[in-house]
């Protein structure tokens, strides 16, 4: 029972804006995602410390301190609501009891802030994907799979209203594709392995969400697109390569919505505006406030189409003014206030601020450029014009390259000399790939050292 999108929810780039989604929805305490307000989405994590049975008390103290601090500040600044994301660390997914201890701490604090200060909030639960803890990763069964599903199930029962994950299917091959600048490997990892894994995984997550009356939110190709972005920021790989990988990640992340997810797509999915154009669901984004977790070339542009605005993740360390998560909370709230002021003034004003966000970054980096709202609609169109993730991936990859080539030609985007040859290399690579994904799969299986990945875990026979 999966949808295949054949038309766009937003085909007019001027309608692809922050704060409004064609398919908004309401959370239990009244926050309407995509309904005219942008909410801050806060994520925080432990400072350097061990997580084991003996330290769980300390772990809980840290989380209690973090959630109390951020909610207190949000109430003081009269935020219209807060989305709290709990992204687990590996031992918390492996031991769902530990994960649930923290879930309950968060939910209790959120309930208290609602009762005491009237602060609306909701919890996004994001178990980390432990399936790659064994190599080759076991994707569809085993203790890691089961622990993860149990944590989804129990946290939804406890009150987490949004279920998300940064799934890793295909990453075991994609990492090397990135460092080798191998576009074929990247497309295979994302649209063959990744898309197949997501279909399996998200069918389960959507089923869990339905059972508990909560929302399957969305995924992110973080381990793919953001790894590429970070490598590009470190000058390890070309920016144009990372930009094309980003376009392709949209094909993979789309699978969650095809399976029944309703948004908001996870914050670190910089591909989310493309998915908003396709699905019309609200999306979370992160930009300048996420520089605590990673630098990016699109700190403002990333806000152009967001419905929640996130800091990605910050550790509970002390800064001069207080704990770092509270700092992030304050920054997010002010960024949201600015967007909400414009939203209060009407569509023309929203468009103006959105275009300023875009103009801030788009000409300086290809990864920013291809996420301009007009480019997102173009990429979205490329994706829905094809029938399978694999064909969509090749097509959207070529479309992204065309966009970049054109932008460089008309001088709306600056590309350095050593980046340019990569446009042709990538075009050639994509064009020379087999039309049939099974042919490619057999090629990959034949040339990859055995033990790197398990074809059967992706429904592939070798």
């Amino acid at each position: 029972m999966s949808t295949h999108y054949t038309s766009l929810a937003i085909d007019d780039p001027t309608k692809l804006v922050f704060g409004h989604a064609p398919n908004p929805f309401t959370l239990r305490r009244g926050m309407v995602l995509g309904g005219g307000l942008v909410y801050p989405e806060i994520n925080f994590t432990l400072p350097p410390m061990l997580i084991e049975a003996g330290t769980m008390n300390k772990v809980c103290t840290e989380y209690r301190q973090m959630i109390t601090g951020v909610l207190k500040r949000a109430a003081e600044l009269e935020s219209p609501g807060v989305l709290v994301e709990f992204e687990t660390l590996p031992p918390m997914t492996e031991h769902p009891d530990w994960g649930m201890q923290i879930v309950n701490i968060l939910l209790d604090a959120m309930e208290e802030a609602h009762a005491k200060d009237g602060l609306a909030s909701a919890l996004r639960m994001t178990p980390n994907d432990n399936r790659e803890m064994v190599r080759p990763p076991q994707m569809r069964s085993g203790i890691y799979w089961e622990g993860m599903l149990e944590l989804f199930d129990r946290s939804a029962a406890a009150g987490a209203e949004l279920l998300s994950i940064e799934s890793v299917g295909g990453k075991e091959l994609h990492d090397d594709a990135l460092t080798m600048g191998d576009m074929q490997g990247s497309i295979f990892g994302l649209s063959v392995l990744g898309a197949r894994d997501m279909k399996f995984l998200w069918t389960h997550i959507v089923e869990i969400a339905k059972r508990h009356g909560v929302h399957a939110a969305g995924d992110t190709a973080c381990g793919f697109g953001n790894t590429a972005m970070v490598l590009a920021e470190q000058k390890m790989i070309p920016r144009v390569f990372a930009a094309v990988v980003r376009a392709v990640t949209a094909v993979r992340s789309l699978v969650a919505y095809e399976c029944g997810a309703v948004g908001p797509g996870k914050d670190c999915g910089y591909e989310n505006p493309i998915l908003k154009a396709i699905t019309g669901f609200p999306m979370s984004m992160e930009g300048k406030c996420a520089s605590c977790a990673h630098f990016s070339p699109m700190g403002n542009l990333a806000a152009a189409c967001c419905d929640t605005w996130s800091n990605e993740s910050i550790q509970n360390v002390k800064l001069l003014g207080g704990m770092a998560p509270t700092m992030s909370m304050e920054q997010l709230i002010y960024d949201c206030r600015l967007m909400n002021v414009a939203l209060g003034e009407g569509p023309k004003e929203v468009l103006k601020l959105r275009d300023w966000f875009v103009a801030s970054d788009d000409s300086l980096d290809p990864q920013a450029y291809i996420l301009r709202p007009d480019c997102c609609v173009q990429l979205a169109q490329a994706i829905i014009s094809k029938d399978t993730p694999y064909t969509a991936a090749r097509h959207v990859g070529l479309t992204a390259i065309d966009i970049l080539r054109q932008a460089h030609a008309d001088k709306s985007l600056k590309l350095s000399d050593r980046e340019l040859p990569w446009l042709d290399t990538m075009t050639d690579t994509i064009q020379e790939m087999p039309d049939d994904e099974n042919v490619l799969a057999q090629q990959v299986i034949a040339t990859t050292e055995p033990g790197r990945f398990l074809p059967a875990e992706y429904g592939l026979t070798s």
Partner: protein, 209 residues
Amino acid sequence: MANLNALTEFIKSGNRSKATKLTQEALDAGEVPQGILDAMVVGMDVVGERFKCNEIFVPEMLIAARAMKEAMAILEPALVKTGYKPIATAVIGTVQGDLHDIGKNLVSMMWKGASFNVVDLGVNVPAEKFVAAIKEHNATLVGLSALLTTTMPAMQTVMDAIRAEDFVGVKVLIGGAPITQNYADQIGADAFAADAASAVDAARKLLAN
């Protein structure tokens, strides 16, 4: 000597077939194996420099490394006969509880390019496995990687396990997003590398002491 300059060039450009062919020709022509090796290392050094100066990207560097690796496969038997030993044997891995490989893989690759013998233990590696590998391979260099702040403490565990043995001259280099020089000092690691590119220089410096 001319063909050795060409070998350097083929390594630099990552031309596998020409690099392997030329290596074989040099051996057949009676070139000293160490001289052939030196020509390759010079090529890789240039590649490393270019990378550091932002003239090339990692993929270009990896292609050069792959050419060197294949040429080395041809050279190695002759080298070994001369009593050659690699500069060092290094054991590398991502510590227990941690899954991240990219940084570790890059360092591993760059160390190979610097003609270290590298034993890559993979990810989620327990302390005992590091210790066993150091013994088995007579390693003098250990690389530990962690990307999660919650697995940093596992580095301490590995350090303690290594220091509990009577290894002579085993140097430990650590790295990963959350790692700092302070943390390295704190757990008694010998060095910290801020990124993959600087891990080669850091390792050479350690081994020179």
